[in-house]
């Protein structure tokens, strides 16, 4: 099976240095478990993040020499169309870039592939040419989808942790550079949004009974234990926490 892991030029959330995004390192770990021929793919200038990716399990990376700040979608799409991998892995959100998580969806749309979001485990399906993907839903629920290849999968933070960094592997790994397919294309997509420095925007305060509105009867002094138990269960049921 041919797997491609999409690598972005991520930045470390604290230092701002170029670093491999954790989600992409987890994607590499998922791909390694599955086995087969695994390659990394990045569109953009050289980045330390790629070396790091070699250190956590990749041995080959293709880099499309796109200028900084251009939209990587077309370059990635034409490369992937030519390479024809069965499984394409990406992070569910970028880190230190636009961070909108839109790129895998746009790729799926352009390549006409099925996209499965928020994977935490991938294994080969019982039929040939299928994989079984566990998706993380809210509140610990999981969903297991079996899908026919090829498919694009985005990785959820609850996926298994990435492999430890190995310096030797990072030295040995190969990064091959490819020219941009269509250099005439206008580069530097102008964003439709304006930009300004970050501002701290505190979240709303969360309080009890903001939505349930039963502040009047909230304190019970020395109720009978039976009565206390009833109060607790009723509270849980009324607020939709559990039904008994």
């Amino acid at each position: 099976m041919k797997t491609t892991v999409l690598l972005s030029a991520a930045r470390h959330p604290v230092s701002g240095r170029e670093a491999l995004a954790r989600l992409e390192a987890q994607a590499i770990a998922l791909a390694t478990r599955l086995g087969g021929d695994i390659r990394g793919l990045h569109a953009g200038p050289e980045s330390d993040a790629l070396r790091e990716a070699l250190g956590v399990g990749l041995s080959k990376i293709d880099r499309i020499d796109a200028p900084n700040g251009s939209d990587p979608m077309e370059d990635l799409a034409s490369h992937l169309r030519a390479a024809g991998p069965d499984l394409i892995l990406a992070g569910r959100r970028g880190q230190g870039g636009l961070d909108s998580g839109l790129l895998p969806y746009r790729l799926a749309e352009r390549l006409g592939l099925t996209l499965v979001a928020d994977a935490i485990a991938i294994e080969a399906g019982s039929e040939a040419g299928t994989v079984r993907i566990d998706q993380a839903l809210k509140k610990g629920d999981r969903r297991r989808v079996t899908v026919r290849l090829p498919v694009i999968v985005t990785v959820h933070p609850l996926a298994p942790p990435p492999a430890a960094f190995a310096y030797g592997a990072a030295r040995r790994g190969m990064i091959s550079t490819h020219p941009v397919n269509d250099p005439i294309r206008q580069e530097g997509q102008g964003s439709e949004w304006e930009e300004r420095p970050y501002r701290n925007r505190p979240k709303l305060m969360r309080t009890a009974s903001a939505s349930s509105g039963d502040a009047a009867e909230k304190l019970f002094v020395d109720p009978d234990p039976k009565e206390a138990a009833r109060l607790i269960l009723d509270y849980l049921e009324r607020n939709g926490i559990r039904q008994f």
């Binding site: 959330p13 509140k139 610990g140 969903r143 079996t146 439709e192 925007r201 305060m205 304190l219 607790i232």
Partner: protein
């Protein structure tokens, strides 16, 4: 001398408010002569009040809140208020969609916030817009939360995501909403991106600031933000926009005649949903934590109770230090900071380090023998009783209810 002479006594008298206790004056009621709208610090202050606390608390952190939330009337005027009539928008000038998840067929806090945001965009400037809630049919309380219309749109886990996106896209094409709002969470976030990619509409993800004029989101780590007029597709972050608090809306059911053709050539072979098991979930992922503190001595009963309530067991640091519960169960600043909806604290005093861990929990239930414990102050339901006696009573009652059904 052409200026008329002021009579402060009469002016003050004109501002008196009927009240049966003590004479009160509403000094905010000033007939302004300038055209600039006058700030009313009292009303602003009152609108920052967090409701439902025994002691008055004010949320002064919110700049958005003052805009998003309708300025509440001062409390002493609220007393003689009659039940507000239902708001009806007969012929809306435009529509705003709010895509709701409604887990277990109830509105979550996040769903209410999405509706609040939709309400704000629908009422902006000249208003006249209607909020369409895309939610499972038969969901109550959407009207009170601010929806004028409800369009059935089930969060059916068996349905694959691409078909849901196609369904929503068909509804967008036939009803032409001005905005579609999503929660930046789980399946809604996925749906928003699918629509953005397939329609090519402008999309702002994980918005941290939203008014009718402007939406802003973070990018490049935490160093920059991008902003602009709210686009057609917006997904909002949790706890960023206040829920709607005005008069109830009608939530009239509507039908969408066009039926989406199922997504062509889907590669999905089978879908199977596996519900999460609270006992084995990590504390950071679960929605309900049953937690024991130094006031609990019977840990066998406690663990059995947690299992029967299908909650994830947690503990305070004292209990973990004593080796009575594993370290992984510790809730608090040096343990796990919870994201759960509900926290049941048995015999926990509520030290600041512990309360930090439950700051995000919407519902807190405390069982404690001490009326003045900090946990009792924090709780939505506080029971002053011996935890050792409440635990067996709870288990008994659970057993009873299970047998009855």
């Amino acid at each position: 001398m052409s200026r008329t002479r002021r009579d402060p006594r009469n002016e003050r008298e004109a501002k008196s408010v009927a009240s049966n206790t003590r004479r009160r004056f509403d000094l905010g009621l000033v007939a302004s002569t300038s055209r600039r709208p006058r700030r009313d610090p009292r009303a602003e202050f009152a609108s920052a009040e967090v409701e439902g606390r025994s002691r008055r608390r004010f949320d002064r952190t919110q700049t958005t809140a003052a805009i998003a939330r309708p300025i509440a009337e001062a409390p002493h005027r609220r007393q003689e208020e009659v039940k507000p009539a239902t708001r009806i928008v007969e012929t809306p000038a435009f529509l705003v969609f709010a895509v709701l998840e409604a887990p277990k067929n109830r509105l979550s806090r996040f769903d209410r916030q999405v509706l609040g945001a939709a309400r704000m965009l629908a009422d902006a400037k000249d208003g006249g817009g209607a909020v369409v809630a895309l939610a499972p049919a038969g969901l109550e309380e959407v009207g009170a939360a601010g929806a004028d219309r409800i369009l059935p749109f089930a969060d059916d886990l068996a349905l694959d995501d691409a078909s849901r996106a196609a369904q929503l896209r068909a509804a967008m094409e036939s009803l032409e909403p001005r905005h579609v709002l999503f929660a930046e969470d789980g399946r809604s976030a996925d749906l928003a991106r699918r629509l953005a990619a397939s329609t090519g509409e402008s999309f702002l993800a994980d918005v941290v600031y939203l008014t009718a004029k402007q939406a802003a989101r973070r990018k490049i780590g935490m160093t920059a933000e991008e902003f602009g007029a709210p686009p057609r597709l917006v997904s909002i972050g949790e706890d960023r926009v206040a829920a709607y608090a005005g008069a109830p809306c009608e939530a009239r059911p509507i039908e969408d005649e066009t039926h989406a053709s199922p997504a062509a050539g889907s590669a999905i072979v089978s879908v199977e949903t596996i519900p999460g098991d609270p006992a084995s979930l990590s504390l950071s992922e679960t929605d309900f934590v049953v937690s024991a503190g130094n006031g609990v001595s019977d840990f066998e009963a406690f663990k059995a109770l947690a299992a029967e309530l299908s909650g994830t067991p947690g503990a305070s640091r004292v209990v973990c230090d004593a080796g009575l519960m594993p370290r992984g169960a510790q809730v608090g600043a040096s343990g796990t900071v919870l994201a759960a909806d509900c926290y049941l604290a048995l015999g926990i005093a509520g030290a600041p380090q512990h309360l930090q861990g439950v700051a995000a929990c919407e519902h807190v239930i405390a069982v404690n023998t001490d009326l003045h414990a900090a946990m009792v102050e924090r709780a939505g339901l506080a029971i002053i009783q011996d935890a050792q006696r409440v635990m067996p009573a709870l288990r008994e009652l659970l057993e009873e209810r299970r047998n009855a059904s």
